[in-house]
Amino acid sequence: MITLENATKRYGTTTVVDGVSATIPGGGVTSIIGPNGAGKSTLLSMMSRLLPLDAGTVHVDGLDVSTTPGRVLARTLGILRQENQLTVRLTVRDLVGFGRFPHNGGRPTVLDREHIERALDYLDLSGLADRFVDELSGGQRQRAFIAMVLAQDTDVILLDEPLNNLDMKHSVEMMQLLRRLVDELGKTVVLVIHDINFASCYSDTLMAMRDGAVIHQGPPEEIMTPAVLRDVYDVDIQVELIRGHRIGVYFA
């Protein structure tokens, strides 16, 4: 569970996240949606202590992200950034192995190797394990980084736009994977996502942001309505029920 209390971030005189108080339930997929510049990435970075808070607090599973030692927090909270560039030459298995760093400080044990192999397996990367990361396609590299976060074995995983650069097939696979992490492994997954329909189909909770504030939060049935979506995006969006999922139609 993640608890935000009055979380605030300012750059100079502009406040980009404005006193957000919210609770993200444990053991589910929560998608943060909203227009460009709403403050989604900033909020996620604050939750993952990549950005310091200017005011307020964030607790992840009871740990205050501003004061908990990094190593301790890293055993509870795993993060995947939007861009994942490597300047060093590593194999996929080496990269995934870094996920164990918070547990072993760089000295792998037998248990760590097991975690690594299973994370590789879970992401269907066993065949690529000895390839160098810089020789992979964008989608494969994305999966390698997710495997690293998985090997980290945290209860909470935060992802910033994990569908960026993925084609349709890989986007679907990514969302199914995140669903499996929650359904099979009981993890808490929070992601920033632009496609409201992916968010609607795969999330337990939607969190809508606008102008640095969380203006709506609830299950897809509550958020995926023309009125709420108009409030968030200033666009008229029809919502159709297709095979049990709420799909927004805004293309024409």
């Binding site: 030692p69 950034r81 560039q85 030459r89 996920g99 918070p102 760089g106 009981g186």
Partner: protein, 337 residues
């Protein structure tokens, strides 16, 4: 909630590990270590004649200075490149060498060449080390104050400072007596022949003392090399580690430069080669390989120049020339990140 130590529940563990078809890094360490030891022995023993009590300590002194510079420059370069996330810039290129030249120029300009050459070496050494550490520390602190992600600012600032120091030096050199300038010029290239034994011992203590924390940081540095955000996500205290590494780097480079003189591209040469030899990036292997390559380049180069070409002082020029070419090649290949 499942137990924290439970691995992910999947089917059988697959063991599809294929060997990577490259020389394992540890084999490189053995090969390079043997080569370095052989070169050091050869340097000490080849053509050893005359008064041993005079010749041998002198040779030991010179080879000691070379090993010390190899360690200081290789370690500081690899560490600096890891925390700044680039493979092209080194502390020397960041303006430190230009500052060394400026210090020498100012000293010669203000006191005259004779005074500078005859003043106590410890005094000159201390002035240089203190000024260079102070400069690099101020530069890094100022640059990393804003959250530690201003690499491009760091690069730009280093270049601007370098240009400024060089400009100031050449202005003073133009105003200087030509005969003083000729003496001054001699100080601009690294030389292992004029190293004072006392300074060598002090420097060796400092360098050894800094290599201990550097080595203990090796696993954290591996994580740091993945980039700031990933490192923070994996629990590394980014700010503290970067600060510590920059302190280590600034002292290492200052000591080495004050001891033998500037070696702008030497660090780049050994780090670029070390990365080439390491099929997988790990500080635990890159650091020793870079150090050994440094020892081989300096001791081997000096040996060849002295024994084969009967030259004495040209080594640093040859190394700088090679390193400069590596620098250009890296730049042209666009590996600036």
């Amino acid at each position: 909630m499942r137990a924290k130590t439970d691995p992910l529940p999947t089917a059988v563990l697959q063991s599809t590990r294929k060997p990577v078809r490259t020389v394992p890094p540890r084999a490189w360490i053995v090969v390079l270590g043997t080569a370095a030891a052989a070169l050091v022995a050869a340097f000490l023993l080849v053509g050893l004649e005359g008064n041993l009590a005079y010749v041998l300590p002198r040779r030991l002194n010179r080879v000691g200075a070379m090993i010390l510079v190899a360690v200081a420059v290789a370690v500081s370069t690899v560490l600096f490149q890891t925390v700044t996330g680039n493979r092209i810039l080194t502390p020397s290129i960041m303006g430190l060498d230009a500052l060394y030249v400026l210090i020498q120029t100012v000293l010669v300009f203000a006191l005259g060449a004779r005074t500078v050459l005859t003043m106590p070496t410890t005094a000159r050494f201390s002035i240089e080390v203190v000024l260079m550490v102070a400069f690099s520390w101020l530069l890094y602190r100022w640059l990393f104050a804003g959250g530690g992600r201003s690499l491009h600012l760091l690069l730009l600032a280093g270049i601007v400072f370098g240009v400024f120091f060089r400009g100031a030096s050449s202005l003073l050199q133009r105003l200087m007596d030509p005969s003083e300038y000729i003496i001054l010029q001699d100080l601009f290239f690294a030389s292992f022949n004029r190293v004072d034994p006392t300074l060598l011992y002090v420097s060796a203590l400092v360098v050894a003392g800094l290599c201990v924390p550097a080595w203990r940081l090796r696993h954290r540095l591996d994580v740091l090399a993945l980039g700031r955000d990933t490192a923070v996500g994996l629990g590394v205290d980014h700010r503290r580690t970067v600060t510590l590494v920059l302190v280590i780097c600034s002292v290492l480079v200052a000591v080495s430069t004050a001891l033998v003189g500037p070696a702008t591209f030497f660090g780049l040469l050994v780090s670029a080669l070390a990365y080439q030899l390491c099929s997988r990036f790990r500080h635990a292997v890159v650091l020793p390989i870079a150090v050994l390559l440094g020892v081989i380049a300096l001791v081997g180069g000096q040996l060849v120049l002295e024994q084969v070409f009967a030259f004495d002082t040209a080594l640093s020029i040859v190394i700088e020339f090679t390193g400069g070419i590596v620098f250009l090649v890296l730049l042209l290949k666009g590996r600036v990140r």
